[in-house]
Amino acid sequence: MLPDIENKVIMQDIDAILLDDFANPTRKELAFAKIVDKYKQRLYWHIRRMVVSHDDADDILQEAFMKAWKYLDHFRRDCALYTWLYRIATNCCLTFLASKKKKMQLLQNVVEGYLENTVKSSENFDGNKLEWKLQLAIQSLPEKQKAVFNLRYYDEMPYEQMSEVFGTSVGALKASYHHAAKKIEEYILQH
């Protein structure tokens, strides 16, 4: 068996054991703590790239794992555990961003630019550097397209797994990614 596939199988075996332990009341909390330890970094960075602010990412990460705790008993194991967790985290991000947008419309009549401003106020921000321009370009994408782009570009998630995260066809995800890539190229070349 190829090393990558072998690692994947091992990881999924470990997840299956953790899920079995979670179903056992005497081992539930310990199993969940292990699941959190295993996935917190990956989920944190996925969320952070969506919302930019560390404090917001921290809140959303808590919320995502709280939901995982609440609904893990009913996880049907029809996809990988991390795919299920990514789905929760992504939905939490999208809900957060939609709510933020709505509040800003109500309070300040300002819709655009919140995330761009948050990027610009980040530590070590340098607008001349390509990596920061890339972030500004990414933050200009619509939320769902941004999530698709980040998962593909940074997490290198296969489209088939992304399809389980978003409940969208592989073809639609590929199209979304391609459009995002084109918008990013245009943004960077113009700024």
Binding site: E29, F32, V36, K40, Q41, Y44, W45, R48, R49, V52, H54, Q62, F65, M66, W69, Y71, D73, H74, S122, E123, N124, F125, L130, E131, W132, L134, Q135, Y153, Y154, H178, A181, K182, I184, E185, I188
Partner: protein
């Protein structure tokens, strides 16, 4: 039987301009993705030092099951019904207990609160979980119904009548 020439004459429908636009669109996509590959993938965001060292999920502590839970309301309502049926066999000379005197958990709470709690405080996903739990715990008392049926049952008029 159709021969090969007949099959090749079949015209499958496709969007107007699709083939004319295909090559330039494809070349644009290739160009954009090659451009992406020239960009640095470095992580520009910083995480507070030792952020994850003591990070924990604030798991809610196990609450004692409230006497006003859906499950207990269902059990209490079923007991009420059984008692009401049992009253048919009580000697008419003996004191008849009215519903208000039959002590149940429901009587501690105003009806409006029960209806609001059960109807509004839980979403459909949680409702489905409660039904599953109820069925597992009390299969004789609670019939197997879907979340949608339960939601309809819990409409104000039905619940008032049931209580």
């Amino acid at each position: 039987m159709k021969n090969r020439n007949d099959i090749e004459k079949i015209n499958w429908a496709y969007p107007d301009g699709y083939l004319q636009n295909f090559t330039p669109q494809l070349m644009e996509q290739i160009k954009a993705e090659e451009f992406l590959e020239t960009l640095p993938k470095a992580n520009v965001y910083t995480m507070p030092v030792n952020y994850f060292t003591n990070w924990k999920v604030n798991i809610p502590t196990q609450k004692k099951q409230s006497i006003f839970s859906y499950k207990n309301i269902g059990i209490a309502a079923s007991l009420l019904l059984l008692l009401a049926i049992g009253m048919q066999f009580v000697n008419v000379q003996t004191k008849q207990l009215n519903n208000e005197e039959i002590t149940t958990a429901i009587d501690f709470m105003p009806k409006e609160e029960i209806i609001q709690y059960v109807g509004n405080n839980i979403d459909e996903f949680e409702l489905e979980i409660l039904i599953i739990d109820s069925v597992n715990a009390n299969s004789q008392l609670v019939p197997t119904i879907s979340a949608q049926e339960a939601k309809e049952f819990l409409q104000t008029e039905n619940l008032e009548e049931y209580l």
